[in-house]
Symmetry: C2
Subunit: 358 residues, 2 copies
């Protein structure tokens, strides 16, 4: 627990972002926190950190730890094994995530589903396109907002699976209040995610930051219905910036709530009018088409699976053996894990022996 | 009139299509009709024509000529000066066109507007996107059918300009009957077009043939609203086959009348949600953006205009001087004619002197 306490303290320092977090990883948290400025400077620790270290707030750290214990929530850091790999691969991963519920949903292939807080009847109806996608094993990730966000979470829960809800505020209370029931249900059946300390209020500036997490966690981002001023377009842009696919459901030119989606399609987003359109975009990540039950009889040859052993195989070794880029390997591993062919274990991956599943 | 009578007779022979018409153009109609099979064979006239010539039907020819005179209609052949150049450039130009009304509309830049016979309220509303396009000088071309076709023609007429209506049946009577008023108005203010003899009934097989004329006349084809089985998709495919742009107005995935448009957009058609989207596609053909009044102060340099003289300049010479492909030159000339910079005259084009227009 001491290491977690130290990591949390480090992560809360002003100016500690993913880049500096990765730079500081060569030194132990204990060393970075306990030694004098002179010793740190001598060891080559950047001067910026020495200044930043003045902001250490141990009472805040301990109050967060107490809340974690009392609420049964979890905390993970950028370099942890359980940190969502696609988010880590994104241009702007948070250095820490607070998690409430079942974090394993974060390790599955996710589709971000975002849209208007006040969808039209057409936007609400379009949510039905997601049912076969959910049934195919894709996890829906959204922002717990009113409207499309909430409908996406509910669609997943009502089909008996989890969902990932990323909050702009801390996890200590629910925003918007009207979604308290949904918040509680996701804490049971899915997972709530926030990078902010648990008592953080939902300040407007935090919403675009929240959106980058939604986009970063997901293989692709689907905008269901959005006006030209919708925050969903920010999420879509962030997804594109992260090299992820953007999808949009069209509407008539006379529905202002569809204007953002039409603009995205003009700019190159994939037009979605049936579930297979989503399957087409995700097809490189999934073995079988959406709408068909997955029946696999083993994989005769696989560029990544063939390089995962029966003992723990570190990610680095799988990357080296497969001679593929790390993000490609990670995506294959996610897929293989979802299909039950490999299992994530401390220190790497282990091959699972299995014949078929339905 | 004798030459027209002979050309009409030739054009009505079974198997005489654009290709054979162009092959036969080296001989005079009088020669082709009057000489013996032996003389024609000796001159190298294809054997197929000799067989086809057995089908000559002079009573039909004369009854058509009588109708033309009595109804004030016109007739033009593929190699005539007044034959619409873009249609002549298409893969399948009709060898003859019957024209009722004001044929000059056929020489202007046209946008084909097609769609459902039973449009939804969204489809009807989408027609308003065409008003600035009409005002920018683009002629709407359609098929006089119920629904979108009729709305497009009416939109043009109600803004005081002509429109091109291409019929599957002959021009002697109006089909559908419900559009008799529109038929009469277009005969006054626009132009009715058919390749079929005037008494031809609206047989189902003629509609796809009619669609190829609509697509061939037009710079681009806009599908306003269409189901997956709509004939409008045939027109769109024909337009694409002719190398013309296809545009479509989107709708929600739950409007079956929008499904054809959504499919077209997935297949690469331009999404139209505002008038400028049409202007963008037509921009290579028009000097000024849609929605803005045209105010030109003369064209300092122009690759085609500079090669049109104050005396009649034949098309061939303009092509040779400009060193551009004939279809590019034709499109520039259409544009220049619409802007009033050149005038089409027997044997070629003449430059017009003018300073500006609003």
């Amino acid at each position: 627990m001491d290491k977690v306490r130290q990591q949390l303290a480090l992560s809360l320092l002003p100016g500690v972002k993913a880049k500096s977090w990765r730079q500081l990883a060569r030194w132990s948290p204990a060393f970075l926190l306990a030694e004098s400025d002179a010793v740190l400077a001598d060891a080559g620790v950047p001067k910026g950190f020495l200044a930043s270290r003045q902001g250490l707030d141990w009472p805040q750290v301990d109050s967060i730890l107490a809340w974690l214990q009392q609420s049964g929530s979890q905390l993970c850091f950028l370099d942890d094994e359980q940190y969502p790999p696609l988010l880590a691969q994104s241009p702007w991963p948070p250095v820490r995530l607070f998690l409430k519920g079942q974090p394993q949903w974060l390790l599955r292939p996710q589709l971000a589903v975002v849209g208007s807080r006040k969808p039209s009847p057409a936007g609400k109806a379009a949510m039905s396109l997601l049912e076969p996608v959910i049934d195919a094993g894709v996890v829906l990730t959204s922002g717990l907002a009113l409207g499309i966000d909430g409908l996406a979470h509910q669609a997943a829960l009502s089909r008996g699976v989890g969902t990932v809800a990323v909050l702009a505020s801390g996890l200590q209370s629910c925003y918007p209040k009207r979604h308290q029931g949904l918040f509680d249900a996701i804490a049971q059946q899915g997972v709530l995610v926030s990078e902010m300390p648990p008592d953080t209020a939902p300040l407007p500036a935090l919403f675009p930051q929240r959106n980058r997490i939604i986009a970063g966690l997901s293989l692709a981002t689907l905008v269901v219905e959005a006006s030209l001023k919708s925050g969903s377009l920010i999420t879509a842009r962030l997804a594109a910036d992260a090299g992820r696919d953007v999808l949009a459901i069209p509407g008539t030119p006379f529905n202002p709530q569809a204007a953002g989606c039409l603009q995205l399609i003009k700019d190159g987003a994939a037009l979605v009018s049936e579930p297979d359109d989503i399957g087409f975009v995700l097809k490189s990540w999934l073995f079988e088409p959406i709408n068909k039950k997955v029946v696999l009889q083993g994989l005769p040859e696989h560029p990544v699976l063939d390089n995962v052993g029966d003992d723990t195989t570190p990610l680095d070794l799988i990357v080296e053996r497969s001679q593929l880029a790390v993000e490609v390997v990670l995506s294959y591993l996610l897929e293989l894990e979802m299909q039950g062919y490999v299992c994530r274990v401390p220190g790497g991956y282990v091959r699972q022996r299995r014949q078929s599943h339905v």
